[in-house]
Symmetry: C2
Amino acid sequence: MIYLAPEKDANFLLFDVFDVEKIWREISDFKDIDREVVEAVISEGARLSNEVLFESFQEANHEPCDWNGGEVKAPKEFKEAFSQLTSGGWLAVSGNPAFGGQGMPKMLGCLIEEMFWASNASLYLYGTLTVGASLCIDSHGTEAQKETFLPNLYAGTWTGAMALTESHAGTDLGLIRTKAEPQADGSYQITGTKIFITSGEHDMAENIIHLVLAKLPDAPNGTRGISLFIVPKFLIDEKGNLGSRNGWASGSLEHKMGIKGSATSVINYDQAEGYLIGEENQGLTAMFTMMNYERLSVGLQGLGSGELAYQQGASYAKERLQGRSARGPKNSEREADSLLVHPDVRRMLLVQRAYNEAGRAFGLFVGMQLDLAKYANDKQAQKFVDLLTPVAKAFLSDKGFDGAVMAQQVFGGHGYIAEWGVEQIVRDARIAQIYEGTNGVQAFDLVARKVMKDGGRGMLDFVEYMRSTELDPVYLEVLEENFVRLISVTEGIVERSKTDPDLSGAVSADYLELVGLVCYAWLWARMALVAKNDEFGQAKKETARFFFSRLLPKTLSLEQSISCTSEILMDFAEESF
Amino acid sequence: MIYLAPEKDANFLLFDVFDVEKIWREISDFKDIDREVVEAVISEGARLSNEVLFESFQEANHEPCDWNGGEVKAPKEFKEAFSQLTSGGWLAVSGNPAFGGQGMPKMLGCLIEEMFWASNASLYLYGTLTVGASLCIDSHGTEAQKETFLPNLYAGTWTGAMALTESHAGTDLGLIRTKAEPQADGSYQITGTKIFITSGEHDMAENIIHLVLAKLPDAPNGTRGISLFIVPKFLIDEKGNLGSRNGWASGSLEHKMGIKGSATSVINYDQAEGYLIGEENQGLTAMFTMMNYERLSVGLQGLGSGELAYQQGASYAKERLQGRSARGPKNSEREADSLLVHPDVRRMLLVQRAYNEAGRAFGLFVGMQLDLAKYANDKQAQKFVDLLTPVAKAFLSDKGFDGAVMAQQVFGGHGYIAEWGVEQIVRDARIAQIYEGTNGVQAFDLVARKVMKDGGRGMLDFVEYMRSTELDPVYLEVLEENFVRLISVTEGIVERSKTDPDLSGAVSADYLELVGLVCYAWLWARMALVAKNDEFGQAKKETARFFFSRLLPKTLSLEQSISCTSEILMDFAEESF
């Protein structure tokens, strides 16, 4: 198997497409960031991914995690790689400088994250949950909590985990039953059982910091009665030393379809000591401030899987000799031509390229809006983040999975055999569509919460923004057609929803795909504009042409299917399913 | 997990939609087949599937096949189930009555096969290869070969396997290197290594009969120099008794993404004794006469996976309580409503129903054409078989996989966990898109061989045939629009291919999907017409409406993407991939 992190594309996007030097100059926290430093960080992240993280990508598949009486071992090949990841400061890239973080832009973080996800998703899960926990504590914790937890989380000597789901409560967190009893010393006793806890227990860190959703006694029903608690594996004394084991343990590990190197625990909390983070009954709010980051990250995971799969498919297609070109032998001294003479193999590879490269640009664009919102207090950017995050999570992970399946198809029978590795990518990629809110939940969030909230205004503003950017004139006409389509579809949904409460759910999946396609078209027109005439630029231009010709037409059929009423779904008798 | 074979739908399609009683009355071999007997066969096949085969569906996943020094053990739970499958005569259903077969119509076989595939694809693979081998021997073997092999294959005391692929030669069989040396006694010595040999070695039968593609000394190059040989595991004396072990052995088992209960061997042939079947150098022709049956069967496998997955998704959606209806609580005495109140969950389930039920009808229609071609010497029917078989193989298996992924999505996080079983269906379903000719190969076969062969005439004839059937008037207009679209796209491809040899490969995948959608629309209009007003019929009518409203519009975008030139694919520089 091969993996080469897309370093060149990263720099192209940062400096040529999005012109970050100009953006960063205007943000005081970023004004001293130097292009050379950024390129060096990307290059070092790429090296770590290609040479260290990727080395145990397949191992984790053969020797998954081990559970023994509550003790959990991560794959042994992971330890050295994880220690290189943490000691290199990679979990601190976007962290708060006041507590040991590097305070780098999220845009840079996005590119690095994709590489880590691609080269070893199971391994990076131990890291990303740590980044997520530190972000949550940084946003909602007390100064004392920040001082205790952030430096250790940034250093990766402690890792993080989020404990939300219970067996009967996944999407609908209002249903959770885990209890938090206030204690005289200001702490809480947490009791209950959580499932699907990624990195909840393992042997790669000195301490594991759980963020647990639980209900106070007499809390209001539903989501307004949920609080968030920090619940470490080992209690910490006032000097910051680790003390006795807290009252929770891994009850078992889940046997999953993929990401087998990632330890997914059932965790039983039995009067475990916990500390409130943020306000009582405001746990979901605290969780949701980090949600935009986490969801974008899961989108990048899907993209990473898509990129990794593409590289396998492309390399196999170049080497595998099978059949002849329809235009006569291209390789007449050998007994067959390479798979690349077959148009349908090229189609599969170009679909993957077209979605991966636009997906990278899209993730980066959302990262840019996160930066502008956080560091430049840009209100418009925050609106774009809210609007586009569900699209980034769902569309990138959907296309990542589809791309992995396509790469597997390029391999033919070998794609189904474990030793070739591509089937593992398919199994791994699948999770990104499911966790951190299923892609159906993302689509519903986009339509029912984000678009409806302001009667579609935010989406129209975003279309105006897209129109205001500089685009390859070749694609202006078809883009404008699609902008108009997106506006008319958006307005139609807002209008029809007034009398049809089920409409937003009925059209959400198709609408999200429509938005994703239009955004990608816009980004292809931006990329094509600045692409040079060298080999790299030529490939960009050809891929843009492919996207507009072969993939964008799907917006036609989406417009039509979105025009249907919800009755087509809701009239079907429940007992007939 | 649950599985209930779709008995009612089977009878609806046979008797209400396709009116087989009328068709069979006019075929002398079938004229005495009685409706009651057919219903009893379906009912007994359903019982075997639901109660016996399905019982070991998950087991095969936990305890896959075992290889030990060339000896291969199938999962131990399979043995009793396989013996019930064979002793019930189920491998003889479509077999030649002169040698112990039952000579039943393929239409009935299609429905039974789907149930076997759905309830246990890994297990049924031991059966279907046996059916395939017996079909090949029946079509091309000598009388003596038929007498020796057919009764034992029909009884399942011996099983079959096909040995085509070599590590460097999959789709392009012209590249194979396995040699066959003629011997003085008229037999051949076979030497070479074959891979991906499903059921090539196992412990569930007294003998295993390989059909092996190999090259005679001085055979012409490429596909015109391939011959087919019967190569049994144990040699057979003149009285039909088993003798010494033949010169081949399983070198190893493949570790696959799914169908883990199916033993997939590397087989090393070392001067193994083989017997020519059919003519020298005509091996591919012999293989290809059974290909239409095998490919249809793999399509039915995809359908079976899709149906099995749907049943899991629907049952989970009914039971799982999560969230509330957008129209207010439906189930106010419980803390949440079922997933079925969410329009997007219904959408996913209806997509599955719409493709599964139309897929079943389409498979049955192709089965009908096979029957008419074989038993009524109907030339038109043979043309339809040739034209539609690649569509049945690829479209049914694509939609089966997509449906399994959607059912998994309905489960949320539980869909990713092995114990719930639905992730296994996804992994199992994936193979049907790959083996027996990848779906890309099927699409190329459809366009470059079938449609081009007669300048599109065959497809136009098929459209005329569809037009001539009785259809629900509600859908006539949109159907006619799509018939016209299919004709114009077909004519366009034929015309443009004259100057563009790569065009057929460039548009093949999209064209196959277009054909599949139009065929399914036609079948939905037939089904809607004869559906009654009871619960079953109402569900049919609602699903038809869903298909036309939400799925058929994709033909719009396919028409547009098919209009692109092949340059969009072929101009991309090889080194840039």
